[in-house]
C-alpha cells in the first residue's frame, strides 16, 4: 500500500501560516506564500521521510520564500532604538497589540528567530538546524531579538490600557 509522503503537511499548516504571517506582517501575503510553498512541496520529486526532517524541510521552503518576498519588497531599514532598561521594565506594556506592532518594526532576522521559537514552537536545536547556525547563536540571537522587541514596544505610541481590579 502506497504511503502518503505528505501526511505531515496538513497538521503543519497553522504553524507555517503563523510563521509566514510574522515574517511578512501580512495575513493575505502569508496565505499566498504558504499556498505556494505547499504546491512546491507536493510537486517535489524527493520528500523527507522522517517527520522532523519533513517539518524542517517545509519550514525551509516557507522561510526561503518569505525571505525572497522580503527582499523583493525592499523593506526600509530598521531604526536603531536607544537601549532601554530591561531590568526594570514594566511588562504591563506588553500586550497583544503592542507586540504585533513591535514585531512589525523589527528586522527580518529578529522576526524570524522569535517566530521560529515562540510561534512555530521550535527547540533551539531544531531552529539551529533550520538556520544552519550553532545552538549558541540561536540563544544569543533570540535574546537580542527579544531585547529589540521590547525596545520597539517601548517606542510605540500605543499603550495598552491597564486593567482595573475590584
Amino acid at each position: 500500500m502506497a504511503r502518503d509522503r505528505h501526511a505531515g503537511l496538513t497538521p503543519l499548516l497553522p504553524r507555517l501560516f503563523a510563521f509566514a504571517r510574522t515574517m511578512l506582517g501580512d495575513a493575505d501575503a502569508a496565505r499566498d506564500l504558504v499556498q505556494e510553498a505547499a504546491a512546491r512541496a507536493l510537486a517535489a520529486a524527493r520528500v523527507p521521510d522522517e517527520a522532523a526532517a519533513y517539518r524542517a524541510w517545509m519550514f525551509r521552503i516557507v522561510r526561503n520564500a518569505a525571505l525572497d518576498e522580503i527582499r523583493r519588497r525592499r523593506e526600509p531599514a530598521v531604526v536603531d532604538r536607544p537601549p532601554i532598561d530591561l531590568w526594570r521594565y514594566d511588562e504591563v506594556r506588553i500586550a497583544k497589540i503592542t507586540v504585533e506592532q513591535g514585531l512589525a518594526a523589527l528586522g527580518p532576522a529578529h522576526r524570524e528567530i522569535i517566530s521560529l521559537i515562540d510561534i512555530a514552537g521550535f527547540s533551539y536545536a531544531d531552529a539551529a538546524g533550520l538556520l544552519g547556525v550553532p545552538v549558541g547563536t540561536v540563544m544569543s540571537r533570540l535574546a537580542r531579538a527579544r531585547e529589540a522587541l521590547i525596545a520597539a514596544i517601548d517606542a510605540s505610541a500605543v499603550r495598552p490600557m491597564k486593567s482595573r481590579h475590584g
Partner: protein, 238 residues
C-alpha cells in the same frame, strides 16, 4: 559588568524557553529569588513569550487537494495542488470566492496535471494547459454557487481563456468569448471560453481540457495533443 548582564539576559531568555541545562537553570532560578532586577527581567521575558504566542492568530481553513493522476510519471508528479479556503469558514474574510493569482504550481509547467478541489463536488477538475503555453493564473471558486469555479489561463501572446463549471440543471451564467465549448461530465457542465484565439488552436486546447476532466483519460496523450496547440501558435487578437 555589561557583559555579565548580557550573559544573564541570554540565560534568562533561554530559561523562559526551558532551554538551559538543568544545573545552569537551577543556579539561575536560585538567583532570581534574591535579585529583584533579575526577577523583573524574567517576568518581562515570560510575558513577552506568552504574548508573542498569542499573536499567531488563527490560520485560515486550508485544505490540501489531491492530484487527479498521481504517479504516472516523475515529471507528471510535479502536481499542481490547491489550498482551499472553504467558503463560509473564514469568519467574514471569505465572501464567496477567492483568487489564487499566478501562484499555482510553477514547477508543473510541462505536464497537463489537472487539479481537483476538495471543497467542490467530487470529480470537479481544473485542467492544466501549460503544455499548450497557457498558464493557470487565477482561480475563483464558490462552492454551492453558479459557477462553482472560474479558472483563468493566460498565454505569452495575449491569449486568454476562462473555464467555468456548474451543476447540470442550474441556470447557466451568461457566456462571453469569441470561442466557446461546453461539455458535461459527472453532472457538471464545463464551459471553456477563449478570446481571440484561432479556431484550430482553440479546438485542440478545448479537447485537452475536456479530456482532463474525464475519468480514465490518458495524460500523456493529452499532453502530446496540447503541445500541438503550442506549435507556431499565433498571437490572440481581440
Amino acid at each position: 559588568m555589561a557583559d555579565e548582564r548580557t550573559s544573564d539576559f541570554e540565560k534568562l531568555s533561554a530559561l523562559v524557553d526551558g532551554e538551559l541545562a538543568p544545573a545552569e537553570g537551577a543556579a539561575l532560578a536560585a538567583r532570581l529569588a534574591a535579585d529583584r532586577e533579575l526577577g523583573s527581567a524574567y517576568a518581562t521575558l515570560a510575558q513577552l513569550k506568552a504574548t508573542v504566542a498569542e499573536t499567531a492568530g488563527d490560520c485560515p481553513p486550508l485544505t490540501l487537494a489531491r492530484p487527479r493522476w498521481p504517479g504516472l510519471r516523475r515529471r507528471a508528479a510535479a502536481l499542481g495542488a490547491c489550498l482551499l479556503f472553504a467558503a463560509g469558514l473564514g469568519a467574514g474574510a471569505w465572501r464567496g470566492s477567492a483568487w489564487i493569482e499566478d501562484r499555482i504550481a510553477p514547477s508543473a509547467a510541462e505536464g497537463p496535471t489537472a487539479i481537483t478541489l476538495a471543497s467542490l463536488p467530487a470529480g470537479t477538475t481544473i485542467p492544466r494547459l501549460d503544455s499548450a503555453g497557457l498558464k493557470l493564473v487565477g482561480l475563483a471558486f464558490n462552492p454551492g454557487g453558479v459557477p462553482l469555479f472560474t479558472a483563468s489561463y493566460r498565454g505569452p501572446h495575449g491569449c486568454r481563456l476562462d473555464l467555468r463549471a456548474w451543476r447540470a440543471g442550474a441556470d447557466a451564467p451568461s457566456a462571453s468569448g469569441s470561442s466557446l465549448r461546453h461539455w458535461v461530465v459527472g453532472g457538471l457542465v464545463y464551459e471553456l471560453a477563449a478570446h481571440g484565439m484561432p479556431d484550430w488552436r482553440f479546438r485542440i486546447v478545448a479537447d485537452g481540457a475536456e479530456e482532463q476532466t474525464r475519468i480514465g483519460a490518458d495524460p500523456e496523450r493529452v499532453e502530446r495533443r496540447l503541445r500541438e496547440a503550442n506549435r507556431g501558435a499565433p498571437p490572440c487578437v481581440g
